[in-house]
């Protein structure tokens, strides 16, 4: 079998393309007349600060995107919700509102103490807020906004927070050399593999969240686009799985993995 060079391929294809006929173009360009494309977060306000350009193609840019603004909306909603839930609390619950608030707190306290033990109960507020914030951000897709969690820079930030918590716990339980010692376990030559593992943990955590939500967003987008005017019943049923179930499960998995990683970083002798 002979190797076909580029020139031959061009010659072969040349028979099928008349010079005046439009050649097949990437659908990205055809999308202007009704095709389907996947966009990143759109820029709401371009920001030029500290000499960094507002060009979205550059490596670093501080533009105000839809991810940030939708997160603000969700922060306000969550803030109002928690403010209302936490007001006028009595020792003996009198209102349904306080019962709901206690149920919520009990749920997160139980989740943290089940997974990490009562020693780590002070992580409960962080886990609770990362759970609620992740869930609300993913559910923003239901309101027609672009989910901020379908943007790697948002979920990647949360993964970074996990990495910092892990590092902090290693310092706290293992002393100053704790993080370094943990990289040399069980034997010193394992150092590169341990280092890779340390970096990939938050990376996979954030990629999983990002990929799942983005997949749901794209599939729902394709369904709405394909059904067009007749999108009546089916999208609602599929949205139950792709939007609601996915959002809740990914929030749960993200917070659980945060707890597992922080717990695995415990270097104290009585751990495990």
């Amino acid at each position: 079998m002979e190797f076909i060079t580029n020139g031959e391929v061009v010659e072969f294809l040349g028979e099928y393309f008349e010079a005046d006929e439009p050649v097949a173009r990437p659908p990205v360009e055809a999308a202007a007349d009704g095709g389907f494309t996947v966009d990143g977060a759109q820029i709401v306000v371009p920001v030029e600060i500290l000499g960094v350009s507002s060009d979205p193609d550059s490596f670093v840019s501080f533009n105000l995107t839809t991810s940030v603004t939708v997160q603000w909306v969700m922060l306000i909603i969550l803030g109002i919700l928690f403010f209302i839930l936490g007001r006028n609390l009595k020792v003996k619950p009198e209102t349904k509102r306080q019962a709901a608030a206690e149920m919520l707190v009990d749920f997160f306290n139980g989740m943290v103490s089940d997974a990490m033990g009562s020693k780590y109960i002070k992580y409960a507020p962080y886990i609770a807020i990362i759970f609620c914030f992740s869930m609300f951000n993913s559910l923003a897709g239901l309101l027609g906004m672009r989910s901020p969690t379908a943007d790697i820079s948002v979920v990647g930030t949360w993964g970074l927070i996990t990495a910092f918590l892990v590092l902090r716990n290693k310092f706290k339980t293992g002393g100053f050399w704790g993080p370094l010692k943990s990289l040399l376990e069980p034997v010193a030559p394992m150092f590169p593999i341990n280092l890779i593992g340390e970096i990939t943990n938050p990376l996979t955590q954030s990629f999983r969240h990002f990929g799942n939500i983005l997949a749901g967003t794209i599939i729902m987008g394709i369904i709405y686009w394909a059904m067009g005017f007749f999108a009546i019943f089916l999208p609602a049923v599929l949205s139950m799985y792709f939007d609601i179930f996915g959002a809740v499960v990914q929030a749960y998995i993200f917070s659980t993995l945060t707890m597992v990683y922080v717990l695995m970083a415990d270097r104290s002798p009585d751990a495990q």
Binding site: V10, F17, V23, V38, R208, L214
Partner: protein, 91 residues
Amino acid sequence: MNMELEALRATVLAAEVMGAGIAMLANIGPGLGEGFVGAKAVEAVGRQPEATGVITRTMIIGDAICETSGIYAFIFALMVMFTRPFSSSLG
């Protein structure tokens, strides 16, 4: 219109789209894996119905870990499909 370049771009484009499709074959693995996880969880619930909550939680975590390679393949396929790194570099 540069005929050769257009034809070359069409070829590279076809290869790219096929590559994205082939990358999604990686999802066979997570599919099988999650099937095993689900089957074992059902067995465990059958044996110990009182531990359903803990088993379900553990199952979901196991599913999530299984999914990782599938998600990587999906992100790679998306990158190839929608950013078109090779055919767009041809001009």
